[in-house]
């Protein structure tokens, strides 16, 4: 059943892109728009050398491309997962997807994961030519390792997304959960500012945020050597731990929220 669900969701997103070519074009272009914006803002306040020194990376431009792609694809996991519920409600398909013979939480997770993987694939395909030009095949190889870290990071993130999606439904509000979560997660991920400069409360929250570990992986891979290789293992362990924690939390929350959603007549 789950395999059929995954296939259905991947096909849905594929058809969606195929029938909306302008949407596909925008998806391919946005990483470049993002990097140019961040770079322009950064250069207005200081040189690339300062940025390089503060973040401790070899090539700031490659880092910016790869870290932006990594950060946004990880944050997009939550975006897509939370949007599953509201998107279906807006277009009127929520009641029909809720008729699938699985729990609603399972559908939200599978759908969120499938959309995120496809979206991440498109982002990576978009950024890959720029990385190949800037740092050659070695840079591409590093980026491939990062892509694997992103996929590992998706598992705990999708659970957070599921909690947020079910909360949105259970509260019977169309509140912009994502509008609040996205900037916060980007800040906590440390992709644009080092986490060390944040107040201690935010640093603590950052350590519980999966995207922080994925961005850390991106920095490590940027300066890949034996010691760095060991650090990648640590990042993967941290992600695994968070995956167990958030998925357990997500499972129990989804079961509770589904019964509340069905009592309140939210599925329409």
């Amino acid at each position: 059943m789950i395999a059929g669900l995954v296939k259905a969701e991947l096909l849905l997103r594929y058809w969606w892109f195929k029938n909306n070519k302008s949407f596909l074009a925008v998806s391919l272009l946005w990483p470049y728009v993002m990097v140019v914006t961040v770079l322009a803002l950064g250069l207005a306040y200081g040189s690339l050398e300062v940025y390089k020194a503060r973040l401790g990376v070899v090539d700031p431009l490659v880092y910016l491309f790869s870290a932006s792609a990594v950060a946004f694809t990880t944050v997009n996991v939550i975006d897509y997962t939370v949007s599953v519920a509201t998107w279906h409600r807006w277009i009127g398909t929520l009641q029909y997807v809720s008729l699938a013979p699985v729990r609603l939480g399972v559908y939200v997770v599978v759908s969120g994961l499938a959309s995120s993987l496809l979206s991440a694939g498109i982002t990576w395909a978009s950024v890959a030519p720029a990385i190949a030009i800037l740092s050659g095949p070695e840079g591409l190889a590093r980026f491939a390792i990062l892509a694997l870290a992103v996929v590992a990071g998706m598992i705990p993130l999708v659970a957070i997304g599921c909690i947020a999606a079910m909360a949105t439904l259970a509260l019977k509000e169309e509140g912009n959960v994502i509008g609040f979560l996205m900037p916060l997660l980007l800040l906590l991920s440390g992709v644009f500012y080092p986490v060390e400069v944040l107040p201690w409360v935010l640093r603590l929250m950052s350590n519980l945020t999966p995207s922080y570990y994925v961005v850390e992986a991106s920095k490590i891979v940027n300066a890949l050597n034996v010691e760095a290789g060991f650090k990648v293992y640590l990042v993967i362990y941290a992600l695994a731990l968070l995956a167990v924690l958030y998925n357990l939390l997500g499972f129990y929350f989804a079961v509770w929220a589904e019964s509340r959603v069905k009592s309140r007549g939210v599925i329409e």
């Binding site: 059943m1 059929g4 669900l5 296939k7 259905a8 096909l11 849905l12 058809w15 969606w16 029938n19 909306n20 277009i91 009127g92 398909t93 009641q95 029909y96 997807v97 809720s98 008729l99 699938a100 013979p101 699985v102 729990r103 019964s259 069905k262 009592s263 007549g265 599925i267």
Partner: protein, 359 residues
């Protein structure tokens, strides 16, 4: 069949319950109660409880089309949503093939085909074929079986001739959308069909085709439940109907048997012109002030007042309507006397005021 049921006991007690249910009745609703809390206001929040269902009970057998009839807000859609496992009742339970919608929703979903809204419910930027394939996969079909089912339902509902399979959902007419909606409900060849106002707002050929398909599905042994407030549709499609008012069944039976209840009366039909609220006030005055069984409904492009009367009291009721119409500033533009229809049975059993105001 019973032996087959017992043999399944070794595999699953749930399956056995399902078997047992199939021997009793395919769809059973028992004492369903559902209340909604309706809250208004931001600073001074005022909430009230609205009882949509108030102990609703009925059953649908395999091989029959059962019509749930009632005005807007009487609880029809709430009932279909509970049977579809999309909504939990506050109390009571319902069973599909013996499986409880409360305790075993996934088994219930495996056995039902649902059509809830004609206009929405599909992906606007996907074609008819892509939409059907997506929902087929979602509902557990795959590979050749799925393609075969898409072919079968397309032939059954004329989707190919109309070009529905290749057309984007956003470019479809209401009739095409309704056919696609029914195709989705039939896709996994379910034992039970639950359809909420399946022909609402459709052109006559599409509505006719859908009614034919529903009859055909009942002939094939399926249990079909439709909700409607179209009494004409109920008379020609349904084997049995249940009138629902204020969240409970107030009368039940075959359309023919139900009409026998008012065979000794006539329907006085007045075509009216006037403000909507004054028409409602007129009907209310006739009901409460004089005990006349009267109701306002839409008759083509005109609003009509239907009043039931015994032949000997016909003159008195006409006189009352003329006098009160003048009082409420309502103009009578036409009048005829008809044989009582199913709508008149509903007026008779509810006194004409069937609306509950529930959502």
């Amino acid at each position: 069949m019973l032996l087959g049921c017992w043999s399944r006991f070794y595999f699953s007690f749930g399956e056995l319950l399902g078997c047992w249910g199939s021997l009793l009745g395919v769809v059973e609703a028992r004492g369903l109660v559902k209340e909604y809390v309706d809250c208004r206001g931001l600073l001074r929040r005022v909430c009230r409880r609205v009882r949509a269902l108030d102990g609703l009970s009925f059953g649908v057998e395999g091989g029959e089309v059962y019509g749930l009839l009632g005005p807007n807000g009487s609880g029809k859609t709430t009932t279909v949503k509970i049977l579809s496992t999309l909504l939990l009742p506050d109390s009571g339970d319902a069973f599909v093939d013996g499986f409880s919608v409360v305790r075993d929703p996934i088994r219930v979903r495996e056995r039902i085909g649902v059509m809830l809204s004609v206009e929405r419910g599909f992906f606007w930027k996907l074609t008819g074929y892509e939409n059907l394939k997506y929902f087929g996969l979602l509902y557990g079909l795959s590979g050749g079986e799925l393609e075969e089912r898409i072919r079968e339902v397309s032939d059954l509902l004329g989707l190919r001739e109309l070009g529905v399979l290749e057309r984007m959902f956003e470019d479809m007419s209401m009739g095409m959308k309704a056919r696609l909606g029914l195709a989705r409900a039939l896709l996994k060849d379910p034992r039970v069909l639950l359809l909420d106002e399946p022909t609402l707002g459709l052109d006559p050929p599409s509505a006719r085709r859908i009614r034919e398909v529903l009859r055909e599905q009942a002939r094939r042994g399926k249990a079909v439940l439709i909700t409607t407030h179209n009494m004409f549709e109920a008379e020609i499609v349904c084997d049995r109907v249940g009138f629902i008012a204020r969240g409970r069944i107030v009368a039940e039976g075959s359309p023919r048997d139900l009409k026998l209840r008012v065979r000794d009366r006539v329907a006085l039909v007045f075509s009216l012109a006037g403000e909507s609220w004054s028409l409602e006030l007129l009907a209310d005055r006739l009901r409460r002030g004089y005990g006349v069984e009267a109701s306002i409904s839409q008759g083509g492009d005109q609003r009509v007042l239907r009043a039931l009367a015994y032949p000997e009291a016909e003159g008195r009721v006409v006189g009352l309507v003329l006098r009160e119409a003048e009082r409420f500033n309502v103009k009578i533009v036409g009048f005829r006397v008809e044989e009582p229809s199913l709508e008149d049975v509903f007026i008779a059993v509810t006194g004409g005021g069937g609306d509950s105001g529930a959502s």
